[in-house]
């Protein structure tokens, strides 16, 4: 029997979670439909004033993405917790952090990436310029993985609690405020003709920081929750 390298372990976990998500498609669609619905309701509710819509577009899209990602976070570890797979993961002789990172990546691919891909269409509802849409997508590409990773810490801490969903939002949403500020700030900068590099660089820095620390922190949180 061959020993698995850390990288192939990561691939194994990502593939497993993607296969599971594809066989349980309703969960994936819930997040996406929620995002599309929330964003589409705003132009209907606020009215067809182009200036106002253009101005609020980045905020609405970002907040909707934030809430949509909260919606799917509860499921990140709970299914594995309930059927005992999480116990086996904690006993993995390789790094638990790598397993957790794999779960974060697949969570993003299932619940973050579809939102990013949907954004251009939704941006048109708000009469956003192509340039603004491009920056918004770039921001979401950098930002949604952070939401998945920071959210994973909260999901691990609230594992097995009753009413964990509310607690999860209370824990995680405040931590996501910087992402929201830089994400919307970048779009506002580009529409007023300023450079977006500072906003996006800060977002990139947050992403690297999250990538370095959140898997380990989540792994520790999982060990605490399993006791």
């Amino acid at each position: 029997m061959n020993k698995l390298s850390l990288f192939s372990l990561l691939i194994l976990v990502v593939r497993r979670d993607l296969v599971l998500a594809m066989r349980r498609r309703a969960d994936v669609l819930t997040t996406l439909i929620f995002f599309v619905m929330v964003v589409s309701l705003f132009p209907l509710g606020v009215g067809p004033e182009m200036d106002m819509l253009r101005k609020m577009a980045p905020g609405v899209l970002w907040v909707a993405a934030l809430l949509a990602s909260m919606l799917s976070l509860g499921r990140l570890f709970s299914a594995d917790y309930l059927d005992g797979t999480l116990e086996q993961m904690l006993l993995a002789p390789q790094s638990l952090s790598v397993l957790v990172l794999g779960k974060m990546i697949s969570h993003w691919m299932v619940s973050g990436l579809p939102l990013v891909l949907m954004t251009p269409v939704l941006g048109l509802q708000f009469d956003m310029s192509m340039q603004a849409i491009a920056v918004l997508i770039l921001g979401l590409l950098l930002g949604t993985p952070i939401l998945s990773m920071v959210g994973a810490i909260g999901a691990a801490l609230t594992l097995g609690l009753r009413g964990g969903g509310v607690l999860l939002s209370l824990l995680v949403l405040p931590l996501c405020i910087p992402v929201l500020i830089f994400g919307t700030g970048a779009v506002e900068a580009v529409t007023s003709g300023l450079s977006v590099s500072s906003h996006l660089s800060l977002m990139g820095a947050l992403l690297v920081l999250a990538l370095a620390f959140t898997p380990w922190v989540t792994a520790q949180a999982l060990r605490i929750s399993m006791e």
């Binding site: 020993k3 698995l4 372990l9 976990v13 296969v19 059927d83 116990e87 006993l91 002789p93 397993l99």
Partner: protein
């Protein structure tokens, strides 16, 4: 070799056991006995490191398992009440993934051979949600066949199994002990391993 000294464990305010000491040497098997709620599962989960004991030490080959951490996990295998199998995946996928999680790459041929030995011929590629409770347990137990762990920690391995499967598990345990493996388990059903002295530990 697994050595436990002066172990104490409580759940909430209730003290389950204290000053528990025993040693398990290669080729030995031990059954944990006790009434419901006497702490059998808690003891096994403590041995796995899920529960931090109030007091005492668990050592593997002379070193504390807290320090060994992942090196200890590579040598042991835990099978709990929960089967750790996914309804959406087939028996084959489940077995290969759980082998992967425990660090070994399992090819399809070996996985199918293991499942067939567990009496799941023809059901290897069915989603496990269509299998019966006993068959799911068999899928979970197939992990015993493909693991090279020295120490097996089995919590109620015989639950939901029929007579044939119980005989098979006894055979597997006998083979494992002959390879100088170690087994520690709980059960409420009689389990006999031919030619082996069964040590018992009673929790009260």
């Amino acid at each position: 070799m697994l050595e436990v000294s002066n172990l104490a464990c409580s759940r909430g305010d209730h003290r389950l056991f204290s000053e528990l000491s025993f040693a398990l040497h290669p080729g030995q098997i031990m059954q944990i006995q006790g009434a419901n709620g006497s702490g059998k599962t808690s003891l096994l989960r403590t041995l796995c490191g899920f529960i931090i004991p109030d007091d005492g030490k668990i050592s593997w080959c002379g070193e504390n398992v807290r320090e060994l951490d992942e090196a200890y996990f590579a040598q042991m295998m835990y099978l709990g009440h929960l089967n750790a199998i996914k309804d959406e995946l087939s028996a084959l996928e489940n077995l290969r993934i759980s082998a992967g999680l425990s660090g070994t790459e399992l090819n399809e041929k070996d996985a199918i051979a293991a499942l067939r030995r567990m009496g799941l011929r023809g059901r290897e590629r069915l989603p496990t949600k269509v299998l019966s409770q006993g068959q799911r347990r068999r899928v979970a137990l197939a992990r015993l066949l493909v693991s090279d762990a020295k120490l097996w920690i089995l919590d109620e391995p015989l639950a939901a199994l029929d007579v044939g499967a119980v005989a098979l598990i006894q055979e597997l345990i006998a083979e494992h002990l002959a390879r100088l493996g170690m087994v520690i388990f709980t059960t409420h059903q009689p389990l006999h391993v031919a030619g082996m002295e069964m040590r018992c530990l009673s929790l009260s």
